[in-house]
Amino acid sequence: MALDTGVTTWLMVSAILVMLMTPGVGFFYGGLVRKKNFISMIALSFVVLALVSVHWILIGYSLAFGQDIGGVIGNLDFVGLNGVSADAGSGAYPPLVFMVFQLFFAAVTVTIVTSAVAERIRFSSFIVFVLVWLTLVYCPLAHWAWGGGWASKLGLIDFAGGTVVEICSGFGALALALVIKNRAGFGEYALEPHNIPMALLGAALLWFGWFGFNAGSALAVNSVAVNAFVTTNTAAAAGALAWMFAGWYHGKPSSLGMVSGAIAGMVAITPAAGFVTPLVSLLIGGVAGVLCYGMMLVRVRKKCDESLDAWAIHGMGGLWGTVATGIFAVAAIGGISGLAEGNAWQFAVNTVCAVAALIFSFVMTYCIAFVIDRTLGMRVTEDEEYVGLDICQHGERA
């Protein structure tokens, strides 16, 4: 088979869609912080995009998708994109397209983690953190699930990154928040979002980009891709409505609740998109909306300043989605049965892999953050925190 123009085109378009999610997260988070840290939040997303783009072609892609070493990590065959051809050869699309598609997954994952360090991170230490974290946390996890590592050999089904992207970033963010500690004034007075329309715009970019994220992960233009496209939108809608009503029950139907729910729904459908029916995606998204809303309340009650809820939404939503994939996978859609069709093994594998990813991400991130905090210092000084990161880290005002 020679290069398939349809598939290659769709992968390039999907890559562009996923690329937009990284600044999308930046704008979403940027609207949620106080005005004095607005630029800082968006700047973090752009520096991640740039850092990952370089890291990925130099070493990241090889570590994640190189020849398997012991089920744990890829080898260094593809360092500097050596041997990653722009020619499709016998495949439907060139490996180089797959490489760049995956690059943007890594970028958006790291950007989600910035939730934990909002309004207090020292920019220079953050750069070091990103490079180390990519190498030691993201690349191994991507290899386990997608690069031929132990989880994929065991039979984990993770369509577009329930473990690799969502659990990894969510629980990583929780660990990071515990190391960097709460913002000054957290729990004493309100640290309110300064620009909700900006956050809504960021969420719109995420919803838009998620079609490439999930439907592109079919790596083909076929029934699985179309199914993933529809389940993604359905789960987003169900999540938005579920969170909105849950929030309404406690007060008002906030716009921020709606988009947070949509994101929670898309997070949960990410591992399942190409394996479950659109009707089931309604359930997966709806449960995610309520679950993540509840987890956010738990987080606030525990006085943990994982500031912008990457843990509640991406961590817990991803955990639920990965487990749900093991339950609701339908052979007629993605060729694999879940618990509901009598395949208890798939449920067990998905649960075990989700928990493994959770522990790995949490422990590794904690260690990395701890070492960086003790050597370089993760936080800005108290004075700088009061003045805001825009001025003290970037010399700019929003």
Partner: protein, 109 residues
């Protein structure tokens, strides 16, 4: 009648508001302002050089009270706004000639 004008750190505002409320001072007008004292803001040291942020964000409260309340309010604001570090702000007390309630035209002096 006096006007108490206090320029304080934004992060202390909620505490000051609460303390004033506890003492029965409910009404106030606040504005977000920028300002500096004798230290001319703060200097932030970086490898690339020094960056001066010479106007820092502050909150300005304006409260009009009876003459007899001046001492209480000064103590209340001072205690709630103090961090002990440079930049805690200042309190000014000004005489007020008259105040008129717009809804009723009621005048006080």
């Amino acid at each position: 009648m006096k006007m108490v004008k206090a320029v304080i750190k934004p992060e202390r505002f909620e505490f000051v508001k609460k303390a004033l409320e506890d003492k029965g001072f409910i009404g106030m007008t606040i504005s977000e302002v920028k300002g500096r004292g004798e230290q001319k803001g703060i200097a932030l040291q970086y490898r690339g050089g020094v960056m001066i942020v010479d106007l820092l964000p502050k909150i300005q409260l304006e409260i009009v009270i009876r003459d007899s309340d001046v001492d209480t309010i000064v103590v209340t604001i001072t205690e709630a706004a103090r961090t002990g570090k440079i930049g805690d702000g200042k309190i000014f007390i000004l005489p007020v000639e008259k105040s008129i309630r717009i809804r009723t035209g009621e005048m006080e002096s």
